[in-house]
Amino acid sequence: MSTIKLSAEIFDPWQELADFQAQAVDMAGKYGATGVFVGSMRDFNEGDEVRGMYLEHYPGMTEKQLQRIVEQAQSQWQLLDVLLIHRIGQVWPNDTLVLVAVWSAHRGDAFDASRFIMENLKSQAPFWKRETLESGQTRWVEKNSDGYLKQP
């Protein structure tokens, strides 16, 4: 089970989670762990103030790659359900950019699978960020920061 959405509108990740869980009646009582990652837009990057950002994507390929990443996670871990929402189009500081939520019986699957989905999304899903700085100048973000800072 999985739900993958691209959203051109602002969304509240916590409301999305509450609504999703309220509807997932078959899962109630079955999950012991929910792994959640929420990515939000900062008002700074690379030492500059950022006023806004445009999220370009490749319609069709983006959905296809996200689906593949979620399927890979489902094949590697025991997951009851997955919810993935990513913004597209114009976004503003403090907007939620991405929500990844994974439900499983035990925490190991939820932790590992949500991390896997997020890191693979970062490196494989065709999205590109174009920032508008305080000066009005625009620039493309060239690379992501590292997701793993320390090995346990």
Partner: protein
Amino acid sequence: MSIKVLYFASLKDRVGRSYDELTIDAPLTVLEVWHRANPHMDMPGTVLASINMEYVGLDAEVSDGDDVAFFPPVTGG
């Protein structure tokens, strides 16, 4: 053979187009498609490529009707 070549993000800005329609008379690799579409511009070393929305290497062969896309490293999330 007819193929469509798409460009995204900063690469779209650099080539100055969002897509090309190419007519070719023999099979080409992805790299050859780039050179055919952009004869005066070397392909930036970081470029990623896809055929019909699947990632491919630059030596992959392009077939009639394929959509080939070129784009910079992805930065979502």
